[in-house]
Symmetry: C2
Subunit: 156 residues, 2 copies
């Protein structure tokens, strides 16, 4: 599998496979809803992401044609750092069938390379403190946990 | 001053005042370049931010007409959380003349309200672990430091 995995922009026809991956995760199981047809909110989100040049939803496709990984990269222009662009990586998931094979590493390396191509000076992400393995994984890629990642959940 | 401060989208004519604030900060002093005319990179960043409907560069204007605060809010559509939008707040700065008067709190409350208007389910930000006062400030607004904020600086 390793040699033939391709990273590419997600298409609408990938959406069910992506949502299945997002739901197949201890944290994701509590907050996603994987059923067919997909809840319309996923389609609406895809329609907001896909045409935006500053958002790239990337899937890893195996040699057999299945979607086995996903991540979203957002490119953000800032005034800080003398007008520097940053790449924000979120929603990184690897299919259960493809874990521990180095795919996550290759996917993040791809994201870092893409950030360079887009002229970003920083790649940033937040990782849940409930996922200590993920923290070590990102540290092994060169990320430093210099910041607190703070969230405020809004209720209606 | 308190009663008359206005929060509004930044205009090009605010740029010098904004960059002056960004540079007037222990961390910012090392990475910004405030000189007139402004380095063109700041103008280019403004030109990328201002027309993007998913980026809002907000300034606080005092009753006397001066720019005394700035922040950037980025609205990001995600597939996760059943296709939920998030608001990312970055680059929060208050002018030295206006600190300790509650302006930062009102500015963040404004950002949270704006995130609600845009239908976001989460407001998120990262804060440097070297700024413990900022951590406590965000906690007092309801933010929880559930995540590690990881950065990878890219060199050419």
């Amino acid at each position: 599998m390793t040699g033939t995995t391709v990273f590419r922009a997600a298409e609408r026809s990938d959406l069910a496979a992506i949502v299945r991956m997002l739901a197949d995760d201890p944290l994701g199981a509590r907050r996603e809803r994987y059923e067919l047809p997909l809840p319309p909110a996923y389609q609406a989100a895809f329609d907001a992401i896909a045409p935006d040049p500053n958002n790239e939803l990337i899937v890893a496709e195996s040699g057999e044609g299945g979607v086995i990984g996903v991540m979203q990269i957002t490119f953000i222009p800032y005034l800080t750092y003398q007008g520097g662009w940053r790449a924000l990586v979120e929603g990184v998931r690897i299919d259960a069938s493809a874990r521990s094979l180095g795919l996550g590493r290759r996917m993040l390396e791809w994201a870092i390379q893409r950030a360079r191509e887009r002229g970003c000076h920083v790649v940033q992400l937040t990782t849940d403190k409930a996922r200590p393995d993920a923290l070590r994984f990102y540290e092994s890629l060169g990320f430093a946990a210099t910041h607190e990642g703070m969230k405020l959940h809004l209720q209606d």
